[in-house]
Symmetry: C2
Subunit: 200 residues, 2 copies
């Protein structure tokens, strides 16, 4: 069975950088944007739209019974989300079959549970995440601390709703991960080689 490493992460914690660097250090595949592109190819939806209804979307912000019990059909946004999730799950399984890989987000720890992935969750304290977001901000973005905090909270809330909707598990609960890594006091670049040895 291939070695599958899944990375859950809080926004601003550096989970994506950790995943990418880890895949490079291990010399294995890293899947991120490729998944969106592949869904787009198979569903004829635009990458932008898929991005918007995947982890960062609002389909899960209403009580599910509104769609399930009282309305004759599902909310169309939810219906499309379910279809994209299904497609994404199939793509993740194909990737897991193909070779060793690192996959960030997308409930991969849950979707690929039969492949016994090494499940990592990356997090950090608020001050560190704010600092990191400032450093990585797109040029021209000038949010106040309050606005940035709101943005971070909003993204993590959506991730949590998405994860909990599809997996039935609580997002970020350490019991769903093998290793939880707090990047507050770490330089990701520096710790990756040792982690690669640990996981290699």
């Amino acid at each position: 069975m291939n070695k599958i490493i899944t990375i859950g992460r809080e926004f601003g914690s550096g989970g994506r950088e950790f995943g990418r660097r880890l895949s490079e250090a291990l010399g294995i595949a890293y899947y991120d944007q490729e998944i969106v592109s592949e869904i787009a190819k198979r569903t004829s939806l635009s990458e932008q739209y898929i991005q918007s209804i995947s982890e960062h979307q609002n389909a899960f912000s209403f009580p599910i019974h509104v769609g399930r019990s009282f309305a004759p059909t599902l909310n169309p946004l939810l219906e499309q989300s379910l279809a994209v999730y299904q497609e994404q799950a199939e793509i993740l399984q194909e990737m897991a079959e193909k070779s060793d890989c690192v996959i960030v987000g997308r409930c991969a720890d849950y979707v690929l549970k039969d492949y016994h992935p090494l499940r990592i969750f990356v997090y950090a304290d608020l001050a560190h995440k704010l600092r990191r977001c400032r450093e990585k901000a797109p040029e021209g973005e000038s949010l106040s601390d309050r606005e940035l905090k709101q943005k971070m909270n909003s993204i993590d809330k959506k991730r949590a709703r998405y994860y909990e909707f599809y997996t039935g598990h609580s997002w970020g609960d350490k019991l769903n991960f093998d290793i939880c890594l707090n990047t507050t006091n770490l330089v990701i670049r520096d710790i990756v080689p040792a982690f690669a040895k640990l996981l290699g």
Copy 2:
């Protein structure tokens, strides 16, 4: 500054074994029973008694205001617990000053925060902890699954109360640790060498 590694752990997760093996792999001191012996020497209390009023005791099972606000003096058990905690904190600091070391439990992550310890929390799922407790049980102990679960819960509840009382933090909250390690799918002996490289 010396390298200090503190290990918090759920009962039955193998945190103590992990700490001991890690100290051996790193060739650094491991403090556990030595702390109790040292407190006993300094306070003239028996090691057994110190053990009973440290993490595994009941002084924190009543609301603190009973002691603080209404009674003219503290509950005697609580008073002794505070004295032992104070003594223990001093000993931990002396140990941290002396050399690199691994310390299991005893709120060491909090007491030694000025030494910037690498704070690890070891945990596992219930089935794994039950299995491990059975394997490590003293000869002649024959608890039912239900009794063993009750024992585990009771010990962890006392650890949580103790930790929360002295630190004001929630016990096992991943934000208070640098790495959380789930031993459910791991053989501790096998992962320690790689962890020693990570932390060495």
